[in-house]
């Protein structure tokens, strides 16, 4: 059965794990690959398992990220993949402009985040960057999961809101694709199925188990809503959203049709 009515509402890339979502008007996808530039950087713990050249997928605890470091969401970060310049702003004021293509720029950015994270004297994060690799949460499950893209069904988020009375910003889930117009929780029935995302074939592979990163309010730098507990209390599980594997090449645009 082919039904439609679903639409791609928003597209996001998160170049640095834990930092701001950057909206996209469109994105070119290729089979087996993720959103270009998504989570290609991470702030690794200097006393952890990541070191330059690490090719294995590491769990999120090896990195500074929202699950443990909510203050990362207090700055608005923008990475320009063309120039490799990372800009951070506080209330619209520029507080960091660093070229991640140079050692000086990386050093400047890491000192900035060491202060923001209030790390002990002498400790700075390590900028994790490995050609061909991403630092998504799913990376710990293997190299294929590393390239899954994440999707949120806005109807399911609204269902959570109506059942709990809480306002739940969908950006808390830091997904790549936000879709609307599908029945609430119908994305769960898609697991194992193929469907069309603005003409690009994708396969729904797994539900996304949420962690405490979703407690952090986007842009606030604070934990202000116990999303995992809300999910557990409301539904008896901790899932919101699904992972997708890209099967064909094509361009996905906001407004594009979702055909299931």
């Amino acid at each position: 059965m082919v039904t439609s009515g679903g639409r791609v509402r928003e597209l996001f890339v998160h170049p640095v794990k834990g930092l701001s979502a950057q909206p996209l008007a469109q994105v070119a996808l290729r089979p087996g690959e993720g959103i270009p530039h998504d989570r290609v950087f991470a702030l690794a713990r200097p006393d952890g398992r990541y070191h330059a050249g690490t090719r294995e997928g590491l769990p999120k605890q090896e990195f500074f990220a929202l699950v443990s470091d909510h203050r990362l969401s207090g700055v608005d970060a923008r990475f320009d993949a063309g120039t490799e310049v990372l800009v951070a702003r506080v209330a619209g004021h520029e507080v960091l402009k660093a070229d991640l293509g140079t050692d000086e720029g990386v050093g400047e950015a890491m000192r900035f985040f060491a202060r923001l994270l209030d790390l002990p004297a002498g400790m700075v994060p390590v900028l994790a960057r490995e050609p061909g690799r991403r630092f998504t949460d799913a990376t710990a499950a293997g190299d294929r999961p590393m390239n899954w893209i994440s999707m949120i069904n806005l109807s399911s988020v609204r269902d959570l809101e109506s059942r709990t009375g809480a306002t739940v910003d969908p950006k808390r889930f830091r997904a790549n694709v936000l879709v609307d117009g599908l029945p609430a929780w119908s994305e769960v029935d898609l697991i194992g199925e193929e469907f069309g995302l603005d003409g690009v074939r994708v396969r729904a592979v797994r539900q996304t188990r949420r962690c405490a990163a979703t407690e952090v309010g986007p842009g606030t730098g604070r934990r202000d809503l116990p999303v995992v507990s809300l999910l557990q209390r409301t539904y008896g599980h901790q899932f919101m959203g699904i992972y997708l594997e890209v099967l064909t090449a094509g361009v996905v645009r906001t407004g594009g049709e979702v055909v299931v």
């Binding site: 443990s68 203050r71 506080v90 202060r115 209030d118 557990q232």
Partner: protein
Amino acid sequence: MRSLSELRLRVSETTDLTPTVRRFVLRDPWGAALPDHEPGAHVVISTPAGHKRAYSLVDPGTREYVVCVRRQSDGRGGSASMHDEVQVGTELLVSKPANRFPLLPSPKYLFIAGGIGITPIRAMVHRLRVQGHTGVRLLYLTQSAEETPFLQEFPGSVHHSDGGLLDLWPHLADPDDDVRVYCCGPAPLMHTVRTLTAHWRASRIHTEQFTTESGGFSPFTAVWAPTGLRVEVPAHLSLLDALRRGGVPVESSCEAGVCGTCRLAVLDGEAEHDSVLACVSRAASPQIVVGPHHHFRKDSS
């Protein structure tokens, strides 16, 4: 009912500092000395109407406690009861002083006070002046000169919103690890200061909301029993994060208080809950001793 930690004090003097702010001097009816306190300390006063309200102590010393109360016309009645039902001679139940806003040593300070939020800040600035500390800056934000308690004490530091809101950004743009920022005032001011210091070290930013429902977490000390390592757990960090920063490897999964992976054993001290999940649980005592929780997991996934 009066608890052992409460004092029964008599109002010995009242003064109107502004049309809405009244100063109350509280003394022991028999002239006994009162428990000492440090700048930033507050007492909880039971008002004649039965509210419990926290007020900062504005002057040092053990002979008397001095609090200043702004009448909140849109409040819940606590300040109105203090203004309308308390006079010289009234006896009030007053808690012993507590301090959730302590003045920590620092080479430099930036104090930001909003309105009646000057009360703990004034105690801090006075202490530092007495000590001859030279690295003190104060921004005291009020509505108007008329509504500025202690106006004469802070020449050059007071900014009135009737002359336009002060832009705080120039004062906070450049984070300085040698500066501690102390802010007390209404919720929107605290929110602004927290927002504008997102790129500062969180440990350098100290805020106290001047209402009883301020909430928030209190810092405590955790001792890791296997090694005796002492770890300070500040308000903005979980026990789990603080232990990890101290080099203690605690296993965790959901980090939301659900899965139980990071459960710890409490060997001494009190926790907020019966069992301690390091990702969400905090101590109810100033110090807590914790160690690994030995147990058999039903699943190994």
